[in-house]
């Protein structure tokens, strides 16, 4: 199974700033994804991070707000731009390996 490391694990941010979350997988994986989990809610897929091309965003999420990079098969970043309190959530990176989806520990962001 893939081991996924995310950082930061948590942060407190000021309104209007941007924060980049990093995700590192210990092996090469084909698919990487970013999810958001708002307080008390389930997970919602933000986008699929595509290696070498633009990410594929789900309905309700746009590149300007959540730019994603994936320079290689083991690493991806998610930026939460121009943050507002509504962006306070846990952001989780995941990777698909042999049909199963593995998750990092998540990055808990609080926007003041």
């Amino acid at each position: 199974s893939a081991v996924i490391s995310q950082k930061p694990s948590r942060d407190i941010c000021q309104r209007g700033t941007s924060l980049t979350i990093q995700c590192q997988v210990d092996s090469q994986v084909t698919m990487m994804f970013w999810y958001r989990q708002q307080p008390g809610q389930s997970l919602t897929l933000i986008a699929t991070a595509n290696q070498g091309s633009e990410a594929t965003y789900e309905s309700g999420f746009v590149i300007d707000k959540f730019p994603i990079s994936r320079p290689n098969l083991t690493f991806s970043t998610l930026t939460v731009s121009n943050m507002s309190p509504e962006d306070s959530s846990i952001y989780l990176c995941s990777a698909a390996d042999t049909g199963e989806l593995f998750f990092g520990e998540g990055s808990r962001l609080t926007v003041l």
């Binding site: 199974s1 996924i4 995310q6 084909t30 698919m31 994804f33 999810y35 989990q37 809610q41 389930s42 997970l43 919602t44 897929l45 699929t48 789900e58 846990i90 989780l92 995941s94 698909a96 042999t98 049909g99 199963e100 989806l101 593995f102 998750f103 990092g104 520990e105 998540g106 808990r108």
Partner: protein, 114 residues
């Protein structure tokens, strides 16, 4: 949109009892997965069951899948305090199967009373 819906939303039982959680989904799937999340941390993959399987076991976990009813259940036997967590079912977001992102249900919050 979320496809899986778990019930109950919350479940509190005594240690040693069995816990059963159910999940219903709306469209055809080729697999269904169950995850556990402890206190807002990352998700831990528990088990994947494919559409051609009816039941699968892993330790104290038993998962069933009824594709005719579009439902699945997760049974945890001989529960322990460490089983206290939220449990989510998840199905492929699109029809492609294992390489897709997943859509998650709202989860069942399980509390094991010592």
């Amino acid at each position: 949109s979320q496809q899986g819906e778990e019930d109950p939303q919350a479940l509190s039982i005594q240690e040693g009892e069995n816990a059963t959680m159910n999940c219903s989904y709306k469209t055809s799937i080729n697999n269904l997965q169950w995850y556990r999340q402890n206190s807002g941390r990352g998700l831990v993959h528990l088990i994947l069951i494919r559409s051609n399987e009816r039941e699968k076991h892993s330790g104290r976990l038993r998962v069933t899948l009824d594709t005719s009813k579009k439902s699945s259940s997760l049974l945890i036997t001989a529960s322990r305090a460490a089983d206290t967590a939220s449990y989510f079912c998840a199905t492929p977001l699109y029809s492609g199967g294992g390489a897709d992102g997943l859509t998650f249900g709202k989860g069942t919050h399980l509390i094991i009373q010592p």
